[in-house]
Symmetry: C2
Subunit: 317 residues, 2 copies
Amino acid sequence: MPLDLATFRAAHDRIRPYIHRTAVLSSARLNLACGGQLFFKCENFQKAGAFKSRGAVNAVFSLDDATARCGVATHSSGNHAAALSRAAGLRGIPAHIVMPSNSSKAKVRAVEGYGGRLTFCEPTQAAREATCARIVSETGATLIHPFENEAVMAGQSTAVIELLEDHPALDLILCPVGGGGLLAGTSLAAKALRPTITVMATEPEEASDTARSFRAGQIVPLERTTTIADGLRTTIGAPNFAIARQWVDGVATVSEEAIIAAMRTIWETLKIVIEPSAAVPYAAVLEKKVPVAGRQVGLILSGGNVDLDALPWLRKP
Amino acid sequence: MPLDLATFRAAHDRIRPYIHRTAVLSSARLNLACGGQLFFKCENFQKAGAFKSRGAVNAVFSLDDATARCGVATHSSGNHAAALSRAAGLRGIPAHIVMPSNSSKAKVRAVEGYGGRLTFCEPTQAAREATCARIVSETGATLIHPFENEAVMAGQSTAVIELLEDHPALDLILCPVGGGGLLAGTSLAAKALRPTITVMATEPEEASDTARSFRAGQIVPLERTTTIADGLRTTIGAPNFAIARQWVDGVATVSEEAIIAAMRTIWETLKIVIEPSAAVPYAAVLEKKVPVAGRQVGLILSGGNVDLDALPWLRKP
């Protein structure tokens, strides 16, 4: 399918009954602190707690009936797994979710809560892929990759489409990047709707594969990382990187300290719960990695699924 | 002034430029859990982080120019002090705030951040009142009591007016009660707009002066309390009690455990930050103190000012 505005608008129409049109919040205090006007797109309020519901619903509801009947499968253990389980449940088809045996109980509970069928495997990338491939071949389920999938990217594009409907004069979009599904959809849709807009990817210094890939002109895989931004511990996908090179203006990297400070400031000031990955765009503002003075800036708050027993500012150093 | 709908609507017009019309949130999951439809009025998103901004702005902007010029004063140390400081700043007049010498740094910073003029005193009720009376007599400032003040009550009524504009078919309102400013405004306005509606006050068992006062038919002062709901550690005011006896259908009391569970559930499910006092109405749902099955229920989330370093579910028992 062509990844153009017509496709994105069709995706939006397809998913609208099943997702929230999320709020956009602002704060006079945060604007004063940076000299720009910040508009936070609250995907933490999205169904299943993250923007992933947009792509998952679009992918599931794009399947023809015969294909859909066999179900869907994935080996993501994060927000995509919960969102895909929910989307499959809405269509009344099975979702086969492969998770590493050391997954957190909260993630397992979220998938189970939405009716996902869990298979555990050894906690290695090879085991995850092999287990998922076996399930796909046994069941005929369709693999829905968390980001290397055009229907997923088209679904993720709808967050920035809503943001630009609400605030058409934005000069700059700050978007977190992990595998690059959100970044691909966001940059394609934002540039199509507003060619003069700047789109910046933001990622942790400790998971800066996209920044290094931009510099190298080819994907530089992420090595082991313990960044607090657990949603961004992923190497950017090949199709996602190709789109980002064409449409994304640059990559800003931020420190772990800035991510924690940004997360806490957003909780305290906007009175909302966001996960560490969602704090990365505002961390780039705090660390002055991107000029925002005098500009209207959209920041995508990607999700709000966080363990309230393990808040980063309460951890022992 | 008569505390009627005309007064409340005039208050709403007066304060509208200076306050947020706050969002109303719902959750399919929370509805499913209780069998009712819950509508959460998000005063945690209000200016200065609490509904108190409504009453403070109305009181400050109701003063005539000559009176206003001498400033306002109060001896509340909580959200009212910050809200009054902000309201006075908007009108360009001084706010004299008397705080006990052992006030938390966060509360002192909030008042200072809004330009309030601080005077510290011994941490006793007598010292607070004496210090405040001295400042009033020295400066000619107008005392704005946090709840025993009709302009304050009229301002607080506007939250439920907005809630009923958004959801006119509510059957039941759950409102926290401390001093009773919010409860007075809420019950008067809700019954005026919708005579068949039920209005229930909710308070901690450990600060159940309003429940005991209802039973006794006269105010039973609160003894020392350490309830986690710090905004509700106040005996209901005399005019507030008179209004509540006439217009409030009953008082539900909740355990500390239920307050903490309700607070955590709202953070996790609605992805918003609320303070313990704001969790008290939902705690009454969790503990089944009020029947909600099949009913449309409005819950006033009173504020979101909470110390992120001292979350109750992380405290050592």
